[in-house]
Symmetry: C2
Subunit: 454 residues, 2 copies
């Protein structure tokens, strides 16, 4: 249904100059939710952006604006009058306005702040103080505060009076005189109260309220949403005073971004917060080439090992044929453990102090996996490839050793990275193949030397 | 704060037999949120579970129960009386009760259904009909329905009367006489209404309501939460009749599970829905060994290629030394593209029909990346390794070709998998190294043959 509307809209936009179409354009647009409309803006040439923006349903304008990419926001701002810009900035939630100010170049920021009303400007400046990826950096200050000695009816009256410009009123926060956070009450509980004129907020509030500090890392904040199932989490300063809330829509974006970031890093890429097609050639190159280069240089070690054992390889040339199989098996086994541990740490299932337990598990699994691989491979080498049993034994012994070493290294590396305060996804995953390659080759040639006496 | 309470609780539990401690135990427990209490249950021996459960704050009992792992739920149910079990089942939200019935063995299910009241039993049976990973399988039927011709005051009266056992009332759904979904109203809008006695639901509802069908895949449902920022999404049947809602807490679990699943598959593992330390040795083995085995067997191709070119390698033995570097570079380049495309498709940034655009981007990036690698490597081979220029040229030409081929294959594979209705994360990522290895070796030896005339 909404797909058809988007298609109609795109077709109409191809002829935007035809003034008669404006009304029908407005009609189609009124049937679409803000995120779908924002997607349409992304594909328009800059000069058409303000025209379409003026046709948007007034109540959706700020929401659409907040959904746009920074590039499109800037193009659009350039085409808006000061009065139109003021309307948008006043309607934006203050966390979105702060994001905007963080992304725009200095001259645009100046224009935005000049249009914002003094209260908004003060809140934006307050929020700009916190690091972008901390709870303080993602929170909003537009929350609903209640007093413990109010009755439910008084609280509802306050909500009706002041609730309009709050980002959410589904949860209201109870503070005492010096703004110390002492509890939380849901709008649901207020509405369902049996005796609103006499029931006190103090008696109905949940005083086991979970909060985070302004400096809490945004990834830890998003983990708390998953664990506790809240729709918003209050943010307090060092004196436990309520300064803002992080809402669940922001937590979801953080979660998805952090997962994408980990996947990029695990696959040896610099992370990007832009969708694939929005990244320029140069950005893609910059995120990929340095890692490829770094890994190429580190694989020099495996070349050095091979060159050091050239005589052994010349004596039994068939050994060469199994190098890729062995290093791949090691790399695969190592990535299995490393990625399991990295993800476990990211979602909070695994803590660095679990290291001994991790290594003991990985060791036992590796013996099982390595044993299975070696058995199957031995049969294949003897019966299919027709390899001499001593050579087959060298390959299969190496296989067991490499799987054990790889899964141990794979379990160890992310934890060490975490303890050294490096990002496990960066430190561990891309490196594992290179480290495992060198280890595998050393094991291979040394076993060959001993068993084949070369 | 809550960490200290958890610690105190654990210490007290070590002496649970001491009856005098019960009251102080109860006091500590009343300061903790349900998910933290659930975590404490997980570490208890089965016989202590019912004792502690009886001490829990009554209003949290069902919430704590819903947070437990299926193993602990079963142990606990075994220790509860029929009356206690009935209290839990009646308090559970119906989607949690359905999950419970899905996880428990037949005899436990029989006991649960016998205790559930007839309405709950009917709803559970209704929900059991849908596949576990569809919108129907994760939705709840306990939602708040309103009629379009009610005034706000009438709607609020209905909410006060029937809202208690609904999973959420933050959004209420407007249906007509035959339950066709026609709009959505937030509790916020109802509370903030200026003229509750005269304003009609019909006039204030948002009629651009986005819904999903019972058969929509849960991953697509969770993507819509991210895109539209809703707290709940309504689920409709084939006739557009409202049958349930998916709430955002379920969507968050789905998102995290799907990301974990993709990371596992990208690293050649069967996915698991259990945390690392909750998986048995056998489960870990079962998720890892088959993939290692499959990849080992497929790397037979690279062994075959090397054995086919044994004469060339014997003639210029130094070529062997660069095999790991070349296959690793190809593998790394391939994983970069593959993981980018897989993640892009998972979060909805990339569609299969973008294939030509993907290949053209990957081709250009690959030329840039491959060129950079080849240049740096050529300098290293000549000046550091002292390799003859023709051999260095073979290695570096192969490097460019392999990066281009790998990034093209890496861009192609996930899209092909998606089009064939295979899971891209399974089909593409683990395979890329193996496919790229064989390709790289073929390119390498053929360039060597031509340039070095061997």
């Amino acid at each position: 249904m909404s797909d058809t509307a988007i298609l109609t809209l795109r077709t109409m936009l191809a002829n935007l100059d035809d003034a008669k179409k404006y009304q029908s354009l407005r009609d189609v647009m009124s049937t679409l939710p803000a995120p779908d409309l924002a997607a349409v803006f992304e594909d328009l040439p800059p000069e058409k952006l303000p025209v379409l923006f003026r046709l948007c349903p007034k109540d959706l304008a700020a929401e659409i604006f907040a959904e746009l990419t920074p590039e499109t926001q800037q193009d659009l701002i350039d085409g808006l009058t000061d009065k139109e810009l003021k309307a948008v900035v006043d309607d934006l939630f203050v966390d979105d306005a702060t994001d905007l100010v963080e992304e725009m170049p200095a001259n645009v920021v100046k224009r935005i702040l000049a249009q914002a009303d003094p209260a908004t400007r003060r809140m934006i400046n307050e929020l700009l103080k916190y690091p972008e990826d901390s709870a303080g950096g993602v929170m909003t200050t537009e929350l609903m505060e209640l007093r413990p000695d109010w009755t439910v009816s008084q609280a509802m009256a306050a909500i009706r009076k002041n609730g309009f410009d709050k980002e959410t009123i589904n949860n209201c926060y109870v503070t005492d005189r010096d703004r110390t956070l002492i509890g939380v009450v849901s709008l649901r509980a207020l509405v369902l109260s049996k005796d609103p004129d006499n029931e006190l907020i103090r008696d109905m509030m949940d005083d086991n309220v979970v909060s985070v500090s302004t400096t809490t890392d945004q990834e830890d904040v998003s983990q708390m949403f998953e664990k506790y199932g809240y729709l918003a989490i209050p943010v307090v300063d060092n004196e436990k005073r309520l300064v803002g809330i992080v809402t669940i829509d922001d937590a979801i974006s953080i979660m998805q971004d952090e997962a994408s970031e980990d996947i990029a890093k695990m696959n040896a890429m610099g992370p990007s917060d832009k969708p694939y097609f929005k990244q320029s050639m140069w950005e893609l190159y910059k995120n990929r080439a340095p890692w490829l280069l770094f890994l190429m240089i580190s694989s020099t070690f495996s070349s050095m090992v091979i060159r050091g054992y050239e005589d052994a390889l010349a004596a039994v040339t068939v050994l060469t044929a199994y190098i890729p199989m062995l290093t791949d098996a090691g790399g695969n086994a190592g990535s299995q453990s490393t990625s399991t541990i990295i993800r476990g740490m990211a979602v909070g299932d695994i803590e660095p102090h679990d290291l001994p337990k991790i290594l003991w598990r990985e060791f036992r699994i590796a013996i099982l996996c390595g044993g299975t691989l070696a058995l199957c491979n031995f049969a294949k080498l003897i019966f299919l490839d027709g390899i001499a049993p001593p050579v087959a034994a060298v390959v299969c012994l190496t296989l067991i050793c490499t799987v054990i070493l790889s899964q141990l290294i794979g379990g160890l590396l992310p934890v060490v990275a975490e303890k050294l305060n490096f990002d496990p996804a960066v430190m561990a995953s891309p490196l594992i193949t290179t480290i495992v390659d060198t280890t595998t080759l050393l094991v291979y040639f040394n076993i060959a030397r001993v068993l084949l006496r070369i």
